[in-house]
C-alpha cells in the first residue's frame, strides 16, 4: 500500500508572528520556518505504517517555495521514502492545494493520504476535506487513533466533548490530531540517508491546476493587546465588579 503525506512549511510554532507594516500579511523574512506540527504527526504515522509492514511506500509532498525542499528533507529524514516538491512562490489557497494533491493522487495511486487537520499558519483546516470531496473518498478527520485491517480503516476522531469511531473503506483520507502519536526526532544517520533519497521537482502547471486565488486578503492585524488587570480591596468589591462591571454573576 502506498501512503501519501502532504506537508507544509510554516512559521515555527515557537516564533512570535509579526504583522508586516503594510498589514498585507505576516513577515516571514529571516524567521525560523519548520514543518507544520500536525504534518509531523502525519509523517510519523506513515513511517510507523511502513515499519509495521502495513505500507509499502511512503511519499512526502510539499507545495511551496524552493525552501519547502528542506521540509521535504525533514520528512525523508524521519523515514519517508521519496518526495515530490511542487514549486510555487504563491501562497496557495486550500482549494488549489487540494486540486494539485488530487492530480498527484491520480498519478501515484495511493490508497491512503494522511494530512494534518490544519496548518498552523492560516488555520483553514480545509485541505483534507476538499481533497476527499475531489477524490470522492471517505475521510476520517482529526484522528486520535487509527487502525487498519485489510482495506478497512478504523479511525477514532476527536469531536467536541469526546471521541467518535468511524470505519472507512480505503482508498481514504485521514487528517491527524495532536494525540495520534509523538513524532520522532530525525536521527543523524537518517538525516544523511535522506540526502540521497529522490525528490521529484514539479510545478502547478505540470498538473494543469489553476491556482488563481479566490479570496482577497484585505488586511492582517495583531490581536488587541491585553489590558492590565486591577486589584480589588476585598471580596465585596470583587463580587460587585463581577456583577456590575463584568456581568458574569
Amino acid at each position: 500500500m502506498k501512503v501519501l503525506v502532504p506537508v507544509k512549511r510554516v512559521l515555527d510554532y515557537n516564533v512570535k508572528a509579526r504583522v508586516k507594516s503594510d498589514q498585507s500579511g505576516i513577515d516571514l523574512a529571516n524567521v525560523k520556518m519548520s514543518m507544520n506540527p500536525f504534518d509531523e504527526i502525519s509523517v510519523e504515522q506513515a513511517v510507523k505504517m511502513k515499519e509495521s509492514g502495513a505500507a509499502s511506500e511512503a511519499i512526502v509532498v510539499s507545495i511551496g517555495p524552493a525552501k519547502a525542499q528542506e521540509t521535504i528533507r525533514t520528512g525523508l529524514a524521519m523515514g519517508m521514502d521519496r518526495g515530490i516538491h511542487v514549486t510555487t512562490d504563491e501562497d496557495l489557497e486550500p482549494l488549489a492545494v487540494a486540486k494539485i494533491l488530487k492530480a498527484i493522487c491520480d498519478e501515484e495511486g495511493p490508497e491512503l493520504v494522511i494530512l494534518g487537520k490544519q496548518a498552523i499558519d492560516n488555520d483553514y483546516g480545509s485541505t483534507g476535506g476538499m481533497l476527499a470531496a475531489l477524490m470522492d473518498w471517505p475521510i476520517g478527520s482529526a484522528a486520535n487513533s487509527m487502525e487498519q485491517a485489510g482495506s478497512e480503516l478504523t479511525v477514532v476522531k476527536e469531536v467536541d466533548g469526546g471521541l467518535q469511531t468511524v470505519k472507512l473503506q480505503m482508498p481514504a483520507i485521514v487528517t491527524t490530531d495532536l494525540r495520534l502519536n509523538e513524532p520522532r526526532y530525525a536521527s543523524l544517520p537518517n538525516i544523511m540517508k535522506a540526502k540521497k533519497k529522490p525528490i521529484d521537482a514539479k510545478t502547478p502547471a505540470d498538473y494543469g491546476v489553476d491556482t488563481a486565488p479566490r479570496l482577497k486578503t484585505l488586511k492582517v492585524t495583531e490581536p488587541e493587546a491585553r489590558k492590565a488587570g486591577i486589584k480589588v480591596e476585598d471580596a465585596a468589591q470583587l463580587v460587585d465588579k463581577l456583577k456590575n462591571e463584568a456581568g458574569v454573576i
Binding site: 519548520s34 528542506e70 525533514t74 526526532y185 536521527s187 543523524l188 544523511m192 535522506a194
Partner: protein
Amino acid sequence: MKNPFETDERKAFRETVRSFVEAEITPYAHEWDEAGQVPWKLHEQLGELGFFGFGIDEEYGGLGFDCPFMRAIAAEEMAKCGFGGVGAAVGGRGISLDPIQRLAAPEIRDRVLKDIVLGKKGSSLGITEPGGGSDVASLKTTAKRDGNHFVINGSKTFITGGMESDYFVIGARTGGPGLTGISLFFVEKDAPGFSRTPLSKKMGWWASNQATLYFDNCRVPATNLMGQEDYGFIAIMNNFNNERLALIAGCLGMMKAAYEDAVDWAKQRETFGKPLIKHQVIRHKIADMSAKIDAVESYMLMICWNMEQGDIPVAELSKGKFFASKALEFVASEAMQIMGGAGYLRGNRIECIYREVKVMAIGGGSEEIMRDLAVRQMGF
C-alpha cells in the same frame, strides 16, 4: 550572521539536537543535576540520534563519517540546557570510543563498541591520576606482564562517568619514564582487583559522576593491551583534539544561554522608570558579551573547517579552548550581574553556568596548559 560553512544536513542535525534538548532535557536538567544523575534512557535516546557515532564505522553503530562541525553542534546545543553535568554524564564515553575502535582487539571491539555507541553501555577513558592530570608524562599507574596477563596497580581520578561505566580504557606505565612507556588497557568493571568510589561533592557538573578508580593487582588478559605496548598514549593524542573542540563548543553554548537569559531579563526588569536594557551600563555589557560570543563562534568555525580539511590545528584548538573559557568567564559573570538576585537563585541556568565556568577552564586541558601547548606548537 550567516555561517559560510552551513549545509542542509548540519542545519537539520542542529534542528534535531536543539528540539531534543528543548523538549527532553532542559525541562528536567535542574532536577537531574540536583539528583546527581541522568536517567540511563537519555544515553540510549542520544545514541539512537547518532550523538556518539562520529568517526565510528556503521557496523559498530556509528555514522561511518566524521564532521567537526556536527561534533561542535552537538556539544553546543547540549550545553544550552545550562546544566553541564548532563552533557558530561552522557558525553564521558566520547574520548574512549576511538581508542576502542582503533586499538582494541577485534574480539573486544566487536563485543562492546556497538553497545557503547548506541548508549546501552557506558565507557570511560582513565588517564588522570591523584598525583597529576595534565602532566601525563609522569603517570604512575603500572602494568606488568605476568604470563598471559597484565597486572595493573595504581589509581585514576576525576574519571567522568566512571561510576556507571561498564568498560574502561586505562593508561598505565609498561616501559620507562615519559610519554612513551605508557600503554593502554581495556578493563571491565568486574575485573579482579578493580574497584571505584565516587568523588564527593563538586562545584558543578552534579548530574554526572566522576570516579576514583583503584587497581589493586588488577589482572586483565594480555589481549586487553590496546595497540602497541609503550606507545598507547602517543596513539590517542589526537583524540584530545576532538575533546577540546567539544569543550570550545560547550563554552559557546553556555555563553549563548547566559546571554539569552540576561537579555530576556533586561527587557522585562524595570529600574528607575525604564527597562534595564535601556540603561547604558547594561547596554555596554550586552555589547561586550555579544562580541565575545561572536568571536568564539567565528574562531571555532574556522577551526572546524581546518579540521574538516584533514588538518589537526593543535595550536588553534589550544588557543580556542582557553579563549573560549575566558570569554565564558566574562559572559557568565556579566550575565549574572545583569540578572542580579534573580540569577543567584538555584535552578536558573545562569547560576549553574557561572559555577561551571571553572570546569571548562580546568577540564580537558587547563587554560595554563593550553597556552603553553599553543606557544610550543607555534614553535617557540
